[in-house]
C-alpha cells in the first residue's frame, strides 16, 4: 500500500468497513511509514480536541419559545 492509498482509505479503516486483508495492509504500512503514522496521530488528536470543547447549549429563550409552541393546540 502507498501513502496516497492510505489517505483514501483511512476514514473507512476507522469506520471499520474495510475488508480484513486491506486492514492488515494498511496496518503494515502504518508500521513502516512515519509520515502516515503522524497523519493518523494528528487526526486522532484532532478528535480529542473536538471532544474536549464545551458542547453548545440551546439558549434558554429559544428553549422557552419552543416549549410554549409545543404546548399550543393546533389552530
Amino acid at each position: 500500500m502507498k501513502c496516497d492509498e492510505l489517505l483514501r482509505q483511512l476514514t473507512e479503516y476507522e469506520d471499520g468497513v474495510l475488508p480484513d486483508d486491506v486492514c492488515q495492509e494498511l496496518q503494515r504500512h502504518l508500521t513502516d511509514c512515519d509520515p502516515c503514522t503522524g497523519l493518523k496521530d494528528d487526526l486522532e488528536a484532532l478528535s480529542r480536541i473536538c471532544r474536549s470543547c464545551t458542547p453548545a447549549r440551546m439558549p434558554e429563550e429559544v428553549r422557552r419559545r419552543l416549549a410554549e409552541r409545543l404546548g399550543e393546540p393546533v389552530s
Binding site: C33, P35, C36, G38, V62, V74
Partner: protein, 200 residues
Amino acid sequence: MSPGPDGADATRREALSRALVEEGDRLYALALRTTRDPDLAGDAVQEAFASALEKADDFRGESRWGTWLHRIVFNKSIDLLRRRRRYEPLPDEDSDRLTAEDERLARRASWTRAPDEVVWGAETRMAMERALDDLTPLQRAVFELKEAGERPTSEVAEILDLTPGAVRVHLHRARLKLRARLGDHCRGRETTPSAGEAKA
C-alpha cells in the same frame, strides 16, 4: 371553529417535546456549527420545530424523531445561510471525491507537540473554533455530527442526505483542513517528514 388537538397531534407534540428535552442542545449545536451564528442557529431550530409540527404526517417512523429533526435543522440552517447569501458552494469544495487539494493537505508535516499538551489547552480549543471558519457549512455539519456527536456514519448520512461514502469523504476533508489550519499552533520546532514524501 378550530379543531382541538386530536390524538395524533397530541402524540406528535409529545414526541417533539421529548426530543426538545433529550436532543435540544445537540440540535442547536448542529445549527450553530453549520451557521456559525447564534441568532441564525436559534432561528433554524425554531423553524425546524415549526416544520416538524406541520409536516409530522411525513414522518413515517423509518428513523428516530431525533434523526428526522436533525435533518430538518440542517436543511433550515442551509436555507437561512442561502437567504442571507452566506453560502454559495464552489464547484469542488463539496465534492464527494477526494481532490488534489485534499492530498496536498495530507502531505503537510505532522504536529509534534505532545497530545495532552495539544488537547487540553484553552488556546487550542480557541484555535479550533477559528479554524472551523475555513470549512464549508456541510463540512462543519459532518464534523459536528461525527466528531462531537460521535454518531454512526449511517445516521449522519441519513441526516445530511448523503451516502456513507460521501460522509467519510467530507469528514476526511474537514479533518485535513483543520489539521492544516491548526498546524502552526500544534507544530513544534521539530517536524517529522511529511506524509507522501516517504512512500508515495
